[in-house]
Structures are given as structure tokens and as C-alpha cells.
């Protein structure tokens, strides 16, 4: 690994917009490209801080997303609010284990995975660790990729509420919980976006 040189060691920094190679001057302050005037940053400033902030917001919002009901169904058999976990449990109990598994993966496993993964990335980056750098980069890619799949639940609630309007036979309405869950998905996506993966490969200089 030591044979690979970072651009910094070669005295170079590349402008991300126009590709101009620029000399490495001060690492600590923002610079503008002399050709295209866009920002040149060696690393995204405050990347870790922003990632951490979004991550904390996501974790905090995940609690009401799970405690508050996400949908209210009504009709002949009665009115009921259902939460995410409650819904999973109901499906499991009534024998639809495949649907229960699907919701569990989309609404519980994926957000938790993201929390843990981003947390891990932040921690290892802060310590400038060299542990498993390839795998960590792959992990970042995975987190970016699976980010939006949690919106599955939100879309289904929206569709159901729009379509299931049969008055006596069946009605459905969204409840605040789903808004919180949507916020969690968006916030964790932003958290993943603001993480600069180049930090994984930084060496202590």
C-alpha cells in the first residue's frame, strides 16, 4: 500500500469540477480553482461532523417513528392504529411470515444497519485506522445503495391511504409515525452523502 501515493504527497490537488491540477498550498483553508473558480477541497470540510449530526438526528427521529402509529385503518371490523413493529408482529402471528420478513428488512434491519455502518465508518475514520480499508469502502458503497429502499414502507402507506377509501368497507389514513420514518430515511441518506469516503484511506501525516 505504501507504493500508492496520494496526490497530496505529489504536491498536487485536483479541482473536482474542471480537473485542473493545482499546487498543494495550505491544507486547512478553502481554496478556489484559478480556472473555474469552484471550490477545491482536499477533503470535504467538516465531513465527519456533518455525518455525525445527521446520524444523531436519524437515531433520535427513529424512536417516534417506531412508537407512533404509522397508519390508521377503519371499516366494518373496527378502527385500529398500527405501528411498524406492531404490523410486523401481526403479520408474523397470522402466518404471513414472508411479508413480515420483508417489512422487517425494509423498516428495521436497513435503518439499523445504516446507523451501525455509518457509526463504524465515523469511528474508524476518526482514529485514522487502517483496519480493513477495502471492506470499509465496500461498506460505504452498500450503505449508499440501500439507503432509499426503506422508503418502500412510506410509499405503500401513501398508496394504501389514497386507494383504500371505501367508507364502510375499509378506510386507511396515514398517521404521524410515517412522517417521522420518512424523515429518518431522508436524514440517514444525507448522512451517507456527507461522508467523504476518501477519509478511509487517509494516512497519518
Amino acid at each position: 500500500m505504501t507504493s500508492f501515493k496520494q496526490s497530496l504527497e505529489l504536491g498536487l490537488i485536483r479541482c473536482p469540477t474542471c480537473g485542473l491540477a493545482v499546487s498543494r498550498a495550505s491544507l486547512r483553508m478553502d481554496r478556489r480553482c484559478p480556472r473555474c473558480q469552484d471550490r477545491i477541497e482536499h477533503r470535504t470540510p467538516l465531513s465527519s461532523e456533518m455525518t455525525l449530526a445527521w446520524l444523531i438526528a436519524g437515531i433520535v427521529l427513529y424512536i417516534p417513528a417506531n412508537l407512533l402509529p404509522v397508519m390508521h385503518t377503519g371499516g366494518l371490523p373496527g378502527e385500529a392504529d398500527s405501528t411498524i413493529l406492531g404490523g410486523i408482529f401481526e403479520f408474523w402471528r397470522s402466518g404471513d411470515w414472508d411479508i413480515a420478513l420483508l417489512i422487517f428488512i425494509a423498516s428495521v434491519a436497513v435503518p439499523f444497519t445504516k446507523f451501525i455502518a455509518i457509526g463504524l465508518l465515523l469511528l474508524t475514520v476518526r482514529k485514522n485506522s487502517r483496519w480493513q480499508q477495502h471492506q470499509r469502502t465496500a461498506l460505504y458503497r452498500i450503505v449508499e445503495f440501500i439507503g432509499y429502499w426503506s422508503m418502500l414502507d412510506v410509499i405503500v402507506v401513501a398508496l394504501t391511504s389514497a386507494l383504500l377509501q371505501f367508507q364502510m368497507l375499509g378506510t386507511a389514513e396515514p398517521r404521524p409515525g410515517i412522517a417521522f420514518f420518512c424523515a429518518v430515511v431522508v436524514v440517514t441518506m444525507l448522512s451517507a452523502l456527507s461522508f467523504d469516503p476518501r477519509l478511509i484511506w487517509d494516512r497519518r501525516t
Binding site: I40, I56, A57
Partner: protein
């Protein structure tokens, strides 16, 4: 080595302009802070809105579901069930319910809870909507000042769930008489209240609690008489058959009716407000008070088969009492067994006669009464058994003036008073029948038969006449009638609008049913057409075999 492959030195590269770092990204911390604030405020709001949690114990938890079963007060949801557990001794079910904050003021020490399930009683059907929506817990607040969190639930809904205004009265009766809780109470055939409770008292009598709604409770006065109006009252009297019933509900569930009693009120029979007697029927209720009974004894020297205890005693046709005991005595002098009948008489039942006697002072005491009876005996008053009904063979005692009676001694001082008796005439019936049979026996039957024979021959000739002349014209009439009916039938034939309308309706129904049947068959063949619609069908191939016309044998 070309210039391109060598990394440039620092001097060859352009120097970027330096600019201070923007502070905008730091604003991102607003987001988690805002999220935390929202979360905490939600938590606080939720905790603040928590209402009280109560525990109600029931004998059974049937139909109660955690999280689903609601608690309703006056049909407004005020809470829901949060837990259902067995009590420690496994005898009762403890239902915990979380109520909303504003329902806390309803929880008094005597607040009642019950489970509303579908119930079918004789008088009412209730709670059917719970078949669809699930049972719920009904609530009725009490009036106590003490607050409470533990309650014992009722197994049946209270008779009055929302405290209508009115008066509760207690009625006493010897028997409950097929009254159910919830049975209606009528005043002049208008329902004004309900039976709300029935209790068996330790002495064996029944106490029935009724509730009369206001403003009708104003009709209940001290002179009011209550009677059992259940079922159908059928009376067969001199004026014919009389059928009376208050209402169908009363026939099925029983009912109580009340009205003002007879206006004369005995000084000893003033009813306490709230406490009344429940009479067996209207007649008994409205009967004027009987007054005190007087016991009399009668000795009969003939067999009194058919005289039951309770048989009426009539004075000049008016019922003034009933038989209390029928006994067999023994007289040593004559070695005979007289029948000793004890009866109780109510002189008040004589009505105006009694009043007239009272005006003359004859009813002041038992002695004066006995003296008066003595004068009657001198005039021929005797007790005589008579046949009440030839069909049943029952007897009753009639006190009547018999002019042919012999003088007897009457002692007005014996207690109980002994009335002189006369033999009944019912035994003479047997003798008369015997005489009749003898008479029939003596009839000249052969002569009668011969005369009859001659008459029959005559009749035969008449009948032949009838057949020859009368019948053919009758047949003609009938055939003319037949033709008339025929043409009437044709008139009512297909041409009539009624027929046409009926036929059209039937044809229409037939086509509708056919269409429905075809739809059902189509769905049976292609159930997926509900989702996917009709699929196009490939043209089928005819069989390669020879066509049936050629293969015909």
C-alpha cells in the same frame, strides 16, 4: 521520459486563491437538535395526556381484547383496555383500562362498569351492534364524592343506565307470577315504567321493584292498586267471552298495570308511599276491600262429593265467602256421620245491603250480627249445597231463603256461628233420570217402527219424483253456470293487464336470473377474470373424426 509522466514541481503549478472556510456546514447541527426537541416534546405531551388507569374485576373476560376493547360512557369512547389478567385466586378476571384525562372526574366510588355484549332477554334485545364492532365496557357514573381506581364490574347491565327521572316503588306479592326484569309497567294501557328487580324474601313472598318514569309517577297515589297484567285474561261470563291483554310485550314478558283503586279506603289499609301490594289480576285489585272475615259452620247430613276447599259461598246469588274446611263428624246419638263444612264469610261483599244494615246498627259487633242472622234463619235462611256445574260435578254452598224449611233452633251465641242446613237438590237429578229411563222403556216401540216404515215408503216415492223432475233442471242450471264460469275464465285469460303484467315480470325475472347464472358460471370457469378481465380465446379445432351425420347408424 516525457514531461507528462514526471510529476510537476511545485513552482509549475498554478496556485489556488485562498479563501476562508465557510461556516454554513456547521448549521447542520440544528437538525439533530431540532429532532431531539421534537422527540422530547412528543414524550412530554404524551405523558401529560395520560389519563388514569383503573382496574375492573369481572367474572369472565369473554370478548375483551387488550388494546381493542373500548370503554364508553354514554356511547362516547373514554378509554381502552390495556391488560386482562386473572386474579391471584383465579376466581375473577382483572381488566385494566387506561382512560382519557377528562374521564377522571367520572370515577366515583359507586361508578358502575359492565361489559356490553349481545344479550337477548324476554323483554329486550340489546347490544347487537357489538356483534360487528366487538364488545365494549359501558360505564355509569355514580354520585359518591370519593374517587376510586378499583372497581367490581357488574355481570349484567343495570336496568337504568343513565338515570332517568322517576320513582322507584316496591310491590309485594305471594308469587312472582312470570314477571321478568324489564317487563313493562302500564297505566291505562300506556307504558310508563319497567320492572327493575325481583327478590325472594326470607318469608317466601316476592318483592318486585318497579320504576315509574316521571312525569307519570304523579299517577301513583296511595289509592293506587297494582296488579299482574301478564298473559291473556280470558273470562267466560254471562255476557259472553271476554279476552283482555295489555300488550304483546306483556303477554310475552309479563307486565304490571296500575290504576286508581276503589274510592272507599278502609282505615286499616292505607298504603305506605313506595310499598304496594301486587294483586293477581285486575278484578282482585279493584275489588272493594272485604273487611274482616266471619267464620261459620254448617252440618250437612248428606254426602257432599264435589265440594272443594275454596268453593264459593253465595248469599242470594252474591259471592260472600268461600269454604275453608270440609270435615267428617260423628254423632253418637244417631250414629251418623254428618259433613261439617267451615266457611269464612265477608259480609262487606253484600255491598249496599251491608251499608243499609250498618246504618241500622246491625253490624256493630259480632253479637249484633249473629242476632241479625238469627232473624234471617227464622224467615227460612238455610245453607244448601248446590251443583255449580253439571259438567264438572263441583258443588258450592248457597245461603238462601227456603220457604218449605222446618223451624229449627238457632243459637246465636255459639262461636263459630252454626247455620242450619237443608239438603241439596242435586241428588234428585239421579232419581229424575231413572224415571225418564223407565218412561222410555215403556214406549210402544213396535208400533212406532211400523208407522215409520210406512212413512219411509212415502218418502221413497217423493224422492223418485225429485229425481225425475227436479234434478234435470238442476243439471241444466249447473251447465249454464259452467259456461258462465268458462267465459269468465277466458275473460281473465292472457288478455287481462294483470296477467300481462305478471307474465312480463316473470319473464324479466327469468332473464335476470339467467344473466346472474351465466355470470356465476363464467366466474366459475374463469375466476381470474375478476383481476385480469376477459382473455381472448383461441378458435377450437373440430375433431378429425368423421362428422356425426356420416357416422349415423
Amino acid at each position: 521520459m516525457s514531461a507528462a509522466s514526471r510529476p510537476p514541481s511545485e513552482e509549475e503549478l498554478p496556485t489556488p486563491a485562498v479563501q476562508s472556510r465557510s461556516w454554513l456546514p456547521r448549521l447542520v447541527w440544528v437538525v439533530p437538535i431540532a429532532a431531539a426537541v421534537i422527540g422530547i416534546s412528543l414524550l412530554i405531551k404524551n405523558w401529560e395526556n395520560q389519563g388514569p388507569r383503573i382496574t375492573i374485576s369481572f367474572l369472565t373476560g369473554e370478548g375483551v381484547q387488550v388494546g381493542k376493547t373500548l370503554v364508553k360512557y354514554r356511547d362516547v369512547t373514554v378509554g381502552h383496555v390495556s391488560a386482562v389478567v386473572l386474579s391471584a385466586d383465579h376466581q375473577t378476571v382483572l381488566v385494566s383500562a387506561d382512560l382519557s384525562k377528562d374521564a377522571a372526574s367520572l370515577l366515583k366510588a359507586d361508578t358502575q362498569f359492565w361489559i356490553v355484549r349481545p344479550r337477548i332477554g324476554v323483554g329486550s334485545v340489546s347490544g347487537l351492534d357489538t356483534l360487528l364492532s366487538g364488545v365494549y365496557i359501558g360505564m355509569k357514573t355514580g354520585a359518591a364524592t370519593l374517587r376510586e381506581r378499583q372497581f367490581v364490574g357488574l355481570e349484567n347491565p343495570p336496568a337504568l343506565s343513565h338515570g332517568p327521572r322517576g320513582r322507584e316503588l316496591q310491590l309485594h306479592a305471594a308469587r312472582a307470577g312470570s314477571l321478568a326484569i324489564g317487563a313493562p309497567v302500564y297505566f291505562r294501557q300506556f307504558q310508563v315504567g319497567r320492572v327493575i328487580d325481583e327478590n325472594l324474601l326470607p318469608d317466601g313472598s316476592t318483592r318486585v321493584s318497579v320504576f315509574v318514569e316521571s312525569p307519570y309517577d304523579g299517577f301513583v297515589k296511595p289509592v293506587t292498586r297494582f296488579w299482574n297484567a301478564s298473559g291473556i285474561d280470558v273470562k267466560l261470563g254471562a255476557d259472553g267471552l271476554n279476552v283482555q291483554t295489555e300488550s304483546l310485550a306483556a303477554v310475552l314478558a309479563g307486565g304490571i298495570a296500575f290504576d286508581d283503586g276503589p274510592t272507599e279506603v278502609l282505615p286499616t289499609a292505607v298504603a305506605m308511599p313506595g310499598d304496594f301490594t301486587l294483586y293477581k289480576n285486575e278484578t282482585e285489585a279493584m275489588a272493594p276491600p272485604d273487611g274482616d272475615p266471619h267464620y261459620v259452620r254448617m252440618r250437612f247430613s248428606q254426602a257432599l262429593r264435589g265440594l272443594d276447599v275454596g268453593a264459593p259461598v253465595e248469599f242470594v246469588g252474591v259471592n260472600i265467602g268461600s269454604v275453608v274446611a270440609v270435615d267428617l263428624g260423628y254423632e253418637r246419638q244417631n250414629r251418623s256421620f254428618p259433613v261439617i263444612v267451615t266457611a269464612k264469610l265477608y259480609p262487606r261483599r253484600m255491598g249496599q245491603a251491608y251499608e243499609a244494615l250498618a246504618a241500622q246498627g246491625k253490624t256493630e259487633s259480632v253479637e249484633t250480627l249473629a242476632e241479625f242472622v238469627g232473624t234471617l234463619v227464622d224467615r227460612g235462611l238455610r245453607a244448601q249445597p248446590r251443583s255449580a256445574s253439571l259438567l264438572t260435578g263441583k258443588l258450592y254452598i248457597a245461603l238462601d231463603f227456603l220457604p218449605a224449611s222446618t223451624r229449627t233452633a238457632f243459637d246465636a251465641s255459639i262461636r263459630p256461628l252454626e247455620l242450619p242446613t237443608a239438603n241439596g237438590t242435586f241428588q234428585e237429578l239421579e232419581a229424575s233420570v231413572g224415571r225418564l229411563v223407565k218412561k222410555v222403556n215403556d214406549l210402544p216401540l213396535e208400533q212406532i217402527v211400523a208407522d215409520l216404515h210406512a212413512d219411509l215408503k212415502d218418502l221413497h216415492e217423493t224422492l223418485g219424483d225429485l229425481h225425475g223432475r227436479v234434478l234435470p233442471s238442476a243439471v241444466e242450471t249447473l251447465s249454464a253456470l259452467h259456461t258462465t264460469l268458462d267465459s269468465a275464465g277466458r275473460t281473465l285469460d292472457v288478455e287481462s293487464p294483470l296477467q300481462r303484467g305478471l307474465t312480463e315480470t316473470l319473464l324479466e325475472s327469468r332473464s335476470t336470473l339467467q344473466a346472474v347464472r351465466e355470470l356465476a358460471e363464467y366466474l366459475d370457469r374463469h375466476p381470474d377474470s375478476l383481476l385480469r378481465g376477459r382473455r381472448p380465446q383461441k378458435m377450437p379445432h373440430a375433431p378429425a373424426a368423421t362428422s356425426p351425420s356420416e357416422a349415423k347408424p
